[in-house]
Amino acid sequence: MIRISIAERENWQDLAKEVGFQFHTIDGEKYWDESACYRFTLEQIENHIEDPTAELEAMCFQVVDRVVNDESLLEKLAIPPFYWDYVRSSWQNRDKNLYGRMDFSYDGTGPAKLLEYNADTPTSLYESAAFQWVWMEQAMEQGLIPPDCDQYNSIHEQLISAFSNMGVKGTLHMAACQGSLEDEGTVMYMEECATQAHVQTHFIHMEEIGIDAEGRLTDLQDNVITDLFKLYPWEWMMRDEFGEAMPKSGVRFIEPAWKSILSNKGILPLLWDMFEGHPNLLPAYFMEDAHKLSGAYAKKPIYSREGAGVSIHDDGKTLEEVKGPYGEEGHIVQALHPLPTFEGNHTVIGSWLVASQPCGLGIREDVSAITKDTSRFVPHVIRD
C-alpha cells in the first residue's frame, strides 16, 4: 500500500458535472481528489481487507443474534422498547439487507483494525462504486497510470444484482432528506442501479412521506408505499413522529430494522466481548467499563456519523475532538489505533459490502487524526 502522486485528468470537473457528481468540491475545498492514488497488491486486498470483512460480517451476525434475544442489550444500544419486537422479527425473518461500509485503520502491513461499521446509511457510495471506476478506466486510457491496473470494486455490479434479488414486486420508493445534495445524488445513483435491475423506482423526500387512516405510508401522489429505501438512519426514524407507524405499515424497509443494531457503535464493545483478541478488532467497552482500557483511546457516541462527537484521549487529556450533536444516548470507548499517515495525510479504508458480500474499497484522507464528512476521497488501484 503506497500513495502515489499522479496527474489529474484534464476534463474531470466537466465529467463530474455531466454525470451529476455535484459534491466533488465542498465549501471551496476539494472532496474528490485524484492528484494521488493508493496502490495495493492483490494479496493486501484479498487477505487484509476482503477476507477479514467477510469474517467480521459473520461475527456481526452473531452479535445481532445475541442482541435481539437480550433486552438488556437492546436497552444498552438505546433502541426504544417499542421497537424491540419489530427489530427482532426483522432479523428472524431474515429481511434482506442491501449495503454497508466497514471502516478500517490499515497501513498495508495488516491486520486491518475495525474502527466502526456504517451498516445503515453509509455514504461515499457513488464515489466508490462509479466515479472511482470511471477514473481508473480513463486514467489508464490517458496514460496517467499503467494500463494493467485493476481495482477492488465490483460494487456497481453487486448493487444491480442485489436489487434484482430483493423481490420488489411493485415500485421501490427511494428517500433522502431535503436539502442534502450529496444524499440526493447518492439516492439517484442507487435508483440508476435499481432501474438497471428492472426495479421500478420513485424518489421521495423523507419529509414528504405521508400516512393514511390505516397507518400505511404514502407518497405525494397518494400511492401506498410498499418498499422503501431510506438514506435516513433507523435511530432517527424510531424517534420521528411517524416512527411508531412503521411496524404495522406493511412497508419493507431497506436497510431492514435489524441494521439499527449494526449501525450502532455499541456493537464494537459487543464484538470485543464475544471475540476478544480477534486480530481485526480493537479493545472496546461501554462507558461503565471504560477503566478496563489502558492507554490512549477514542470516545465515540453510540449514534454518530462522519466522525461527529468523536474525541481522542490519552493520559486524562483530550488530544483531539470533533464537535457534534450526538451523544445523548451514551458513548463507547475504543483503544486508539491511530490512522496511518501517508505524506501527512491520515488515511481510513472504507470496505464495502453489498448484500453482505465484500466487494469494494473507498479511501478517505484527512489532515487531522479523525476523518469527518469533509475528508477527501482518493481513488485506488491494484497492481502487484
Binding site: 465542498i26 415500485t171 432528506c177 438497471q196 412521506i209 416512527g243
Partner: protein, 185 residues
C-alpha cells in the same frame, strides 16, 4: 479481475461509457378478456388461465380506480361500465369502480424462466374503448393474445389511498444536526 466488468451510467440525464441503451425492454405478456378466451388460445393452460383470472380479480378490488359517485366513474369509463366496490368511505358511503374488462399475466410462451409481468386487471376508458389500460391508466394493447408489451406497464399496480398527514419523518434530523451536507456516515 476485482472490478465491475462494465459500468453503464445514464445518471441524471447524461450518458457516459454507455454500452447499448436498453431502457424499455419489452416483456411478453398474455392478455385476455376472460378465462374462456385464454383457455382457447394455443399453448395456454386452463388452470393457469383460471388462476390468473382469480389473481387479477383480487388486484382489481385492491387497485381499480375508485370513485365516490357512479356518474364520475361512468364519465371516465362509459355508461354501464362501472360497478360498486366492496370498500366504503370512512363515513359509510358507497364506492364505485370500473368493471374489469380483461387481464394480463406473464406468458408460459415467453421462453421459460421467471416472468416480470405482474398479473393484473385491465380496463377500457370511455374515450378510447379499443385499448386495454392498466389500473393506473397506462395503455397496454388493443388486442388479446400473447404479445410483447412495454415493461413500463407490467409492474404490480399501486394502491391509491388518502393521505391524512405528512411531515412525520425528518424531524429528528432537523433537530439533531445543523449540517445539511449529508445525513449518512
Amino acid at each position: 479481475m476485482k472490478r465491475s466488468k462494465s459500468l453503464k451510467l445514464a445518471l441524471m440525464g447524461a450518458t457516459i461509457l454507455t454500452m447499448t441503451a436498453c431502457d424499455n425492454p419489452d416483456e411478453v405478456a398474455a392478455i385476455f378478456e376472460d378465462v374462456d378466451e385464454c383457455a382457447k388460445y394455443e399453448g395456454q393452460d386452463l388452470d393457469q388461465c383460471r388462476q390468473g383470472w382469480e389473481e387479477a380479480k383480487q388486484e382489481h378490488i385492491r387497485t381499480a380506480p375508485k370513485y365516490t359517485s357512479v356518474a364520475d366513474c361512468q364519465a371516465d369509463f362509459g355508461e354501464g361500465q362501472c360497478e360498486q366496490a366492496p370498500q366504503q368511505t370512512t363515513s359509510g358511503g358507497s364506492v364505485f369502480m370500473p368493471m374489469m374488462m380483461g387481464y394480463m399475466m406473464g406468458s408460459m410462451l415467453s421462453g421459460g424462466g421467471r416472468s416480470n409481468v405482474a398479473t393484473q386487471p385491465l380496463y377500457r376508458s370511455a374515450d378510447d374503448p379499443k385499448t386495454f389500460r392498466t389500473g393506473d391508466n397506462q395503455k397496454v394493447s388493443s388486442k388479446t393474445g400473447v404479445q410483447k408489451v412495454p415493461s413500463t406497464v407490467t409492474s404490480r399496480p399501486t394502491t391509491k389511498t388518502s393521505t391524512v398527514r405528512r411531515g412525520g419523518f425528518g424531524t429528528t434530523a432537523a433537530r439533531t444536526t445543523s449540517s445539511t451536507r449529508s445525513y449518512g456516515g
